[in-house]
């Protein structure tokens, strides 16, 4: 090279140096070659590799979506748990409890000698601390959460929520192992509420250093954090040996964060995951290749694709204050006109089941046929409409409906089928597609005519569906349904002490709402989970609670 290259050499040299500096600054870790041969790190070798999409939060106070919740379930045990198989509520951190004061007071007796992952005792104060943390806007956390509503019926809720006090008067701790909850109203279903993963206990460390706790929560569950949550990459947990219950059989779990289910499933097929989800188009392939789980909720070798029905429902929301939709007959006709089986068969290979009620069958209070208009009967729909809205020569009526929905996530295909079903009975249907973020607020305010929504049970009780969706002043009542009779019946039903009577009363309310058809249930969601052949058994219940503590590797 010629001698007058020095200028360029200088520039190249300094560029290279700055690039190296950038890399060093970004913390370049292992070499590619090394990481291939090194494989999994020591902590996670032989770990159960579990796919989740990016969680919002794993700290119990704000577990508002199901991905982070799947992690939290393994780190924390709430007072109770719902056993879907037996269909009843069982004790977890509490070995027993009893209601008193006509269902307004609950005394929980904690399991003695239980410890947090850091060795602290799990006492009644730990529950009070945790629950105050869920409701208070500032106590023991860096950022506010959105789950306060779970404790809305506990005495003192409003003051804590408003930030006036950090002493939750409805929660008292007479001794180490007794936790007393006083409600402002009778709510015999409260033990179901107490099963929610956001209500697990937290040690003092949570309040002392909320920032560290947020990324590495310390719980009382069968597994403990192994390092911090690494955003967008992974969360490692390992077995907690001092667990008060039966210790887990698997030693460690790596929750592997992937951006989408397609990617995760390819990784699964490559043998990198022990549990993943299956994208809808691959359903048939997955069934033939991996075999369907016999009960729908347990994966065993050869029966690895879990397709059990979840406690959630997909429905068409109808704004009852709308000029056209205020006529219940129109809403009934819409509900009758939707061919639910065709949607389930064509779009979900029959894995999802048509919904004939707002309550899924796994929820106590479900009764077959309770929603008399929630099935496909085109003739009946036409008959209902003919009386008031006669059809012209082309079969068109003077009825137009606008369906508002977010097209992504397969909703467009579902809504297109609904649209053609409605057109078939004489409606003029237009669609208004927007992004979810842009449409959600309009749903809530009742600014849309009809749209799609889903509801997942917070707790497996009828009240959680009926009160949330149909009580006139509920924030989740998007159809703006307002029926004083239903409101009254709901209040009465939820405070009925006797279990059987309460459930029967809920069924009765459900029937009343079903006759009015403020929404049209379309289908029940089903699992799309899959386990690898290395997993001897793994149960994923209808409430999307992964029972990794009882899972076994082959």
């Amino acid at each position: 090279m010629s001698t007058n290259m020095n200028r360029r050499t200088f520039v190249q040299g300094s560029l290279a140096a700055s690039v190296l500096a950038t890399l060093a600054g970004c913390g370049k870790k292992q070499d590619a070659a090394q990481s291939t041969s090194g494989g999994a790190g020591t902590a996670a070798s032989g770990a159960f590799r579990y796919y989740i999409s990016s969680p919002d939060c794993i700290d119990p106070y704000n577990v508002n979506e199901d991905q982070g919740t799947q992690v939290t379930y393994n780190l924390f045990d709430s007072l109770t748990d719902f056993d879907y198989e037996a269909g009843k509520i069982i004790g977890k951190a509490a070995e027993s409890w009893e209601p008193s004061d006509g269902g307004k007071k609950f005394t929980f007796h904690l399991v003695k000698g239980a410890k947090f992952h850091n060795g602290d005792p799990v006492n009644s104060e730990a529950f009070k601390r945790a629950w105050t943390r869920v409701v208070s806007p500032t106590y023991g956390k860096e950022n506010a959460g959105v789950l306060d509503y779970h404790l809305g019926m506990v005495k003192g809720y409003a003051d804590v929520l408003a930030g006036k006090t950090e002493d939750f008067v409805g929660l008292t701790c007479p001794d180490e192992n007794t936790f007393v909850v006083e409600l402002s109203m009778a709510y015999p279903d409260f033990p179901y509420v107490a099963a929610h993963p956001c209500l697990g206990p937290v040690p003092k460390a949570a309040v002392d250093d909320p920032k560290a706790f947020y990324k590495a929560p310390i719980g009382n569950g069968p597994f403990m954090m192994d390092g911090e949550w690494v955003d967008g990459q992974y969360i490692n947990v390992k077995r907690f040996d001092d667990y008060y219950g039966t210790p887990a059989s698997i030693g460690a779990i790596q929750f592997n964060i992937q951006k989408d289910v397609e990617t995760a499933y390819r990784e699964f097929q490559a043998g990198n995951y022990d549990k993943s989800e299956v994208p809808a188009p691959q359903t048939n392939e997955a069934i033939s290749q991996y075999g369907q789980s016999t009960d729908g909720f347990t994966g065993t070798p050869g029966h690895q694709f879990l397709t059990g029905e979840e406690a959630s429902v997909y429905y068409l929301n109808m704004t009852v204050t709308d000029e056209t939709l205020k006529d219940p007959d129109v809403r009934r006709a819409i509900s009758l006109a939707i061919n639910r089986q065709a949607i389930c068969d064509n779009l979900f290979q029959g894995l999802r089941k048509p919904a004939d009620d707002i309550l899924p069958p796994s929820i106590p209070g479900y009764e077959k046929g309770a929603w008399q208009y929630s099935h496909y009967d085109k003739e009946a729909a036409i008959k209902l409409l003919d009386a008031k809205y006669p059809a012209d020569a082309n079969g068109k009526r003077n009825l137009s409906i606008q369906l508002s929905f977010n097209p992504e996530g397969g909703h467009k295909e579902i809504m297109e089928m609904v649209q053609s079903d409605l057109e078939a009975v004489g409606f003029t249907v237009t669609s208004d597609t927007r992004e979810w973020s842009a449409i959600l607020d309009d749903y809530r305010k009742g600014n849309t005519q009809a749209g799609r929504l889903g509801w997942t049970a917070d707790y497996p009780i009828a009240d959680n569906f009926l009160y949330s969706l149909f009580k006139s002043d509920s924030g989740d009542n998007c159809s703006k349904y307002n029926n004083a009779e239903v409101d009254k019946a709901l209040e009465a039903a939820r405070s009925t002490i006797d279990d059987k009577e309460r459930i029967a009363a809920m069924t009765a309310v459900s029937k009343m709402v079903g006759d009015d058809c403020p929404i049209a249930p379309i289908m029940y969601y089903s699992h799309r989970e899959i386990t690898s052949d290395k997993v001897a058994s793994f149960n994923f219940d209808a409430g999307r609670h992964p029972h990794l503590d009882t899972a076994k590797m082959a």
Partner: protein
């Protein structure tokens, strides 16, 4: 020189303010309330909504961080936009880009975790661009009107015409699906992380880096070709030939050096663009870089991440452009910077 650099750095300020103000206004125009989205499908209590807004500085708060209510209406007072913008600038000066709406993690932390992947992808991309682009440009210039020249011209036209994301999908289809057995799944993305979240293999870089570099590789070879041809007609080249140097020596020692100046500039600026995170390429390949993060954040209306990501991009692009301009002065002594340009 120092004066020139100072002047350029001062020019950063209006550019930076311009870009961030536009971004800031845009996020307030886009429909959809990001705070309402946080709770997912379920409604949250008004108190919770207010507390979250207070956390993120969207409502006026007192010194304890509690929301201040309007005396007459009892409603919370939204922070004026101009105040929000100043808060953002103030945070930025202190190295604080705010907290993610969805995940409540500091934005700086989120972005720093993603940035190494974008940097590594950009490095591989720039190497591909330099080697293939310059190489192809030289070949087509030296062997003008030959088969090779036509091939380069044709293929660069195709690459320029093809959007990067489309090329990325075609490559995925070809290597990942059609040639799956032949490549033994090596190119087949998604990216695998091992237990520590590292990439398992360098081959995963090839397809995304090639996609990222495709259009600019084509431009690089075009620029290289035309520059080299232009230089070859210059007087000093004729002189060099006349004094008896071989064609090869003339090209390598005299022509190439000068022809490279605009090419290096182009590649340098392009490196800045790549470092700013290729949103399309990263999304198509599910690359865990800043571009993908910004894309996700936009779809979730997680404005602090979008704002923070754009801030970093603006700064990186400005710095790279400055470096390129400085290097220009070294590469071509005829370019006079700063004070000397006043003489003209």
């Amino acid at each position: 020189m120092a004066k020139y650099i100072v002047r350029r750095v001062l020019q950063f300020i209006p550019v930076f303010l311009g870009v961030t103000i536009i971004m800031f206004l845009l996020q307030n125009v886009v429909p959809g309330d990001p705070i309402k989205l946080i709770a997912g499908d379920k409604a949250m209590s008004p108190e919770a909504e207010l507390a979250i807004k207070a956390d993120h500085g969207l409502v006026v708060t007192d010194e304890n961080g509690k929301p201040v209510l309007d005396e007459k209406t009892g409603e919370p007072i939204p922070t004026p936009l101009i105040q929000q913008y100043f808060n953002y600038l103030n945070g930025l000066v202190h190295g604080d880009l705010g907290t993610s709406y969805k995940r409540n993690l500091p934005v700086t932390e989120i972005l720093l975790q993603k940035y190494p992947y974008t940097v590594r992808l950009a490095l591989v991309g720039i190497v591909i661009e330099a080697i293939i682009g310059i190489g192809a440009g030289i070949i087509s210039a030296i062997k003008r009107y030959s088969f090779w020249d036509t091939l380069v011209t044709l293929s660069t036209s195709i690459l320029v015409a093809m959007p990067a994301f489309w090329l990325g999908m075609l490559l995925q289809l070809f290597f990942g699906v059609l040639c799956k057995n032949w490549t033994n799944g090596a190119f087949y993305l998604p990216i695998s992380f091992n237990a520590n979240g590292e990439f398992q293999d360098w081959v995963y870089y090839i397809l995304p880096a090639f996609t990222l570099a495709s259009v600019s590789t084509a431009y690089t070879s075009r620029i290289m070709r035309s520059q080299l041809l232009e230089v070859m007609n210059a007087d000093y080249i004729r002189t060099a030939r006349a004094k008896g140097l071989s064609r090869k020596a003339v090209i390598w020692r005299h022509a190439l050096k000068n022809a490279l100046i605009p090419v290096v500039t182009y590649i340098g600026i392009d490196f800045g663009v790549m470092l700013s995170g290729a949103i399309l390429t990263e999304t198509v390949f599910n690359w865990p870089g800043v571009g993908n993060e910004i894309y996700l954040a936009i779809s979730q209306r997680d404005w602090p991440i979008v704002m923070g990501g754009v801030t970093i991009i603006v700064i990186v692009v400005m710095i790279i452009n400055l470096l390129v301009d400085i290097s220009y002065a070294f590469l071509d002594p005829r370019i006079r910077l700063g004070a000397s340009s006043n003489k003209n």
